[in-house]
């Protein structure tokens, strides 16, 4: 319906800068997930788009329309608050009907729409109750219904599923996605559940301390994190991250913990030659490594001692201590080494990530920017 654009938006609360010069485009009809740790400024961005907060600097556009100075009621948005914000003195039905009443929709139409959205969210039996008589998950769905019923141009969701049980969450999240596509509404979805973000979103925006860390489709976020923060924030268990020294005698090689060396792949070599950092930050995902007995095939290998083994049924998480670094590796259930055993951790080819130690930016991206810059 409409594209939402933030241009150089900063929001300060006194001395706290909650959102720092953010440039973002939420594509028309796209489903964007806003992902970040607690206090990173996700809700603030949502409130800025809603018009509840006014930016300290920068402008906000809905399509061509500059909405920076418009009141929330002039923006046609639907908003699900993090704490639901249901009206305690109204029944569920009245809560959902309220936005339509404010628009002076005829009562019959209101009725139909409320019943429809209630059915979709499995809350039809709750319509006569008051919010205080609902569980957290039920309240959340009522709040979602209230935002959906008005068929807004922009749908803003502040962790709308955080209180549902796992089963219901998965069910609603796929239906939510379907209805979002059906309505063609531009959706911004705040969450700190990364699997939710990766599963639902067309695009994921990772934010930390009010600064955008990366803005990309889910698989890019996962496979090519732009910086150390994204790499360590996405994934469960998080990526293994550790510093390592470099050796440039013939070609750029990394001195891995445990005394092995690994000479980097093509895509990193150019950049390393040019920058010649004496150190890099190395990262890889636990699911991209395995425990092997015989390191032969040229994969990057780290030697260490098994520290703990956590069997999870479908897989095991093995922690390996090498020098003073602890690495996590996901292994198939049958691979269950003994604590104290000496093992080799081999990382899948091409899955080793290297970051600039100063800026913590993925060297791959630096290489790309260079090649683009000429």
């Amino acid at each position: 319906m409409v594209e939402v654009r933030l241009e150089g938006v900063t929001k300060r609360f006194g001395r706290v800068t909650a959102v720092n010069s953010v440039n973002l485009v939420f594509g028309d009809g796209e489903f964007t997930a806003l992902l970040g740790p607690s206090g990173s400024g996700k809700s603030t961005i949502l409130y800025l788009v809603a018009g509840i907060y006014k930016p300290s600097e920068g402008r906000i556009y809905f399509g061509d329309r500059d909405v920076t100075d418009l009141m929330p009621n002039e923006r046609n948005i639907g908003l699900v608050f993090q704490n639901y914000a249901l009206y305690p003195h109204m029944t569920v039905y009245d809560n959902i009907a309220f936005p339509l009443k404010l628009r002076r929709t005829p009562p019959e139409v209101i009725r139909d729409k409320v019943l429809e959205v209630a059915k979709f969210l499995h809350i039809s039996e709750l319509l006569d109750r008051y919010p205080a008589q609902l569980s957290g998950g039920q309240q959340q769905r009522v709040a979602l219904a209230r935002a959906l019923v008005k068929e807004p141009e922009v749908l803003l969701l502040d962790e709308p599923l955080s209180n549902l049980d796992a089963l219901l969450r998965i069910k609603i999240r796929s239906e939510l996605k379907r209805i979002q596509k059906e309505l063609g509404v531009t959706a911004i979805y705040v969450t700190h559940d990364q699997s939710e973000a990766l599963a639902m979103a067309d695009k994921v925006v990772v934010i930390n301390r009010g600064v955008i860390q990366q803005e990309a489709p889910p698989d890019t976020i996962y496979n090519e994190p732009r910086n150390v923060f994204v790499a360590s924030f996405i994934g469960s268990p998080p990526s293994n991250i550790f510093p390592a020294t470099m050796d440039y005698t013939e070609e750029p090689c990394i001195n891995l913990p445990g005394g092995t060396r690994h000479c980097v792949e093509e895509e990193y070599a150019g950049v390393l030659w040019r920058m010649k950092p004496s150190k890099v930050i190395v990262g890889f995902r636990p699911e991209h490594a395995e425990i092997v007995e015989n390191p032969v095939d040229g994969r990057p290998v780290i030697v260490g001692e098994v520290y703990t083994v956590e069997p999870l049924g479908r897989e095991n998480i093995v922690t390996v201590a090498s020098e003073d670094i602890h690495l996590k590796v996901i292994t198939p259930p049958e691979v269950r080494p003994e604590a104290g055993e000496l093992v080799y951790v081999a990382v899948e080819r091409g899955k080793l990530m290297l970051f600039d130690p100063q800026t913590e930016i993925n060297l791959k991206y630096i290489a790309r920017e260079w090649s683009q810059g000429g």
Binding site: N73, R75, I77, N83, F98
Partner: protein, 302 residues
């Protein structure tokens, strides 16, 4: 009885608990005695000097009081006073004060709780200062204004003028506290509720009306009760501003005892007046006890 202290039972139990309860009873004796003798006296033929004294039950005092037959001095010809009128006057002042207080405090309290404006906290501080202000310094100036404006009021309307003036002037005294109490109630309404209404297409006023006000009803009730009781109990302002023939229950009682010439035999009649006067206070007290206690402590919590 069997609850442990961990389950909300008393913190002190056994002999010590009983001693404390009895000590409190002893300390409360003057209150219990004076109130009960007042009520008993209103039904007796003489002053009942303590609750355990025997007396003859009679409704004569109530009859004399309601008929307004209370001789200033026995034997002197007098005209009965219109007690119903006095009761009505008391009600008018109390009701008027309630309306004025609510009208002036609800929106202001909302603004102090929810809006940012020039001198917001300065104004709030000023209000607290005003609440504590020497009332006697105010009443001198207020009366000067009253006298000054009275010159411009046509004679026929002067009685309305007096009533309206006394109501507004008395209500003003209650406004700082009312705003402070109400602000506390507004503060407890989550911001998101208001935002939800505005996001859904309402104006700020709609949000106040539909989302916020219904949630501060207890606060409004508390403030209304305080205002009503303040107007109901007022003696000084009514005495100063209303003409002598327009009495309220307070000034009626005051005029009986203040003249210093009332005979002892008529004192029980005044007790009837006092008992009647006390009834609304007691009713509010019993009905809203917890709300009252909570509001009084919430007003200036630290």
């Amino acid at each position: 009885m069997g609850e442990g202290i961990g389950e909300g039972g008393p913190l002190v139990r056994g002999t010590m608990g009983i001693v404390i309860i009895l000590a409190l009873l002893l300390a409360s004796l003057p209150i219990i005695m004076t109130y009960s003798t007042l009520v008993m006296t209103s039904f007796a033929n003489t002053i009942v000097s303590s609750p355990w004294v025997k007396f003859r039950f009679t409704l004569e005092n109530w009859r004399l009081f309601l008929e307004g037959k209370l001789a200033p001095t026995a034997g002197i010809v007098y005209t009965p006073e219109d007690i119903l009128r006095f009761i009505l006057n008391t009600g008018i002042v109390a009701g008027g004060v309630t309306l004025v207080v609510l009208a002036a405090s609800v929106t202001s309290a909302y603004a102090f709780s929810r809006m940012n404006f020039f001198m917001r906290s300065g104004m709030m501080k000023l209000l607290i200062l005003l609440h504590a202000f020497p009332g006697v310094a105010l009443i001198v100036g207020v009366y000067a204004i009253y006298v000054f404006l009275n010159n411009y009021i046509p004679r026929d309307y002067s009685i309305y003028y007096s009533f309206i003036f006394v109501i507004i002037a008395r209500a003003s005294l209650e406004i700082p506290m009312a705003i402070w109490i109400l602000k506390g109630f507004f503060d407890r309404v989550p911001w998101e509720l208001e935002w939800a209404t505005i996001v859904d297409g309402g104006s700020r006023l709609t949000a106040l009306r539909t989302a916020v006000l219904p949630l501060v009803k207890p606060g409004i009730a508390a403030v209304a009760i305080f205002a009503f009781l303040a107007g109901w109990e007022d003696l000084i302002y009514v005495l100063v501003f209303l003409p002598p023939q327009e009495k309220t229950l307070a000034t009626y009682i005051e005029s009986q005892l203040g003249s210093g010439s009332l005979e002892t035999t008529y004192l029980p009649v005044v007790a009837a007046a006092g008992t009647l006067y006390l009834i609304p206070t007691i009713i509010f007290f019993v009905v809203t006890q917890r709300l009252l206690l909570e509001t009084m402590s919430g007003g200036l919590k630290g």
